[in-house]
Amino acid sequence: MTDETGLKEHLTDLAASGVRLTTPLTAERVRARGEQRLRRKRAAVTGGGVLLVAVLAVGGLALTRTPRASDPPAVLPAPTASAFVPPTPAPGEEYGSELGLVYGAVAEGDTVRVTVEQRGTGVVHTLILPRGTLVEVRQLAGGSPADVQLGDLVDRLAGGPRWMFAIDYDGEGRVQSLREAYWLGG
């Protein structure tokens, strides 16, 4: 095989431009991030994992379409099967992830109830998570990557659908963390 395309120089030039246009985090901050991941794993192990309670899963519009009193359904509606199945990790992966808008947060004692509208499918479901659930944020923290507790974000997430998160589920369907999908704007 022979390269007569000048590919090496083109690629080298492209990579060099990438280096020029970026300012990597300091090593100290990268290490701090690694420590955060380590602490989270240890907390998950000692805490037995973050509890996931998928209370209800319904199709998006089903929540807002209330039948009029004068217009009863012709037939009794059959129970709707849950459309939400927690994603499972791919082979070799630690977590399976769901991408969705997280909103309607309500603090309930030591837990926070949030509504999730899954991207792509439109499936809406509810999660009840411990207040201490770790959430990776960026825009929500003013632009700098940080880990915060879900309980500290209740006010920010109490409104309508605005913030997109990747929600990481372990192999048993338990939520281990939420990561703000800042690359989607917000």
Partner: protein, 183 residues
């Protein structure tokens, strides 16, 4: 990094920082070529380094830590792509993503061409032509047979040449560079 953690071994802060400083820029450049997205490249490389520090007890700076970081970063990039692919149209409707300086026009051409060839071909091309790995080393890093790598390289180069035809990167009009033989 295949052995179990051992608190008595591993890497200290000073060594890790030196490794990071020496290789982070190079790896971001490589992942930029692999992904075609500079912000994504920076994110996944930094995340991969964070995971390397998380597993520092297993990290062997005398081995091939850069290849490990590159592999983890690539996997992160691919999995992110797969997760957000359906959400990208939504993102476009919501407004522009974080500001990134505009690339040079000829870089745009190359990135667009790279994005249009299959992931496996793109990765093989970058590992071989940018990272200077032999075909055997590419095969080891990509965990696939040598013959498959050769096929990816051949098809990838052919596809890129076709995609860059009649552009300022047209291989027929640009200066021919050193030939790389691995047959």
């Amino acid at each position: 990094m295949g052995s179990p953690p051992d608190e008595t071994h591993g890497v200290n802060e000073q060594d890790f920082d030196a490794f990071y400083a020496a290789s982070v820029g190079r790896l971001i450049g490589q992942l930029y070529a692999m992904t075609g997205d500079l912000a994504e490249a920076q994110d996944v490389v930094q995340e991969a380094f964070a995971r390397a520090w998380e597993r520092r007890a297993e990290l062997d700076l005398g081995g091939a830590p850069e290849a490990w970081v590159r592999t983890v970063a690539w996997r992160l990039a691919v999995s992110r792509w797969r997760r957000v692919r359906t959400a990208l149209a939504f993102a476009r409707r919501q407004g522009p993503p974080a500001t990134v300086p505009p690339p040079e026009p000829h870089h745009v051409l190359l990135v667009e061409a790279l994005r249009r060839i299959p992931e496996a071909q793109r990765r093989a091309v970058v590992l071989h032509h940018l990272c200077d790995l032999t075909v055997e080393q590419v095969a080891a890093e990509a965990d696939c047979p040598v013959g498959t790598v050769k096929a990816h390289l051949s098809r990838g180069r052919t596809a890129l040449a076709r995609l860059l035809t009649d552009t300022e990167l047209d291989p027929r009009t640009t200066t021919r560079l050193s030939e790389v033989r691995h047959d």
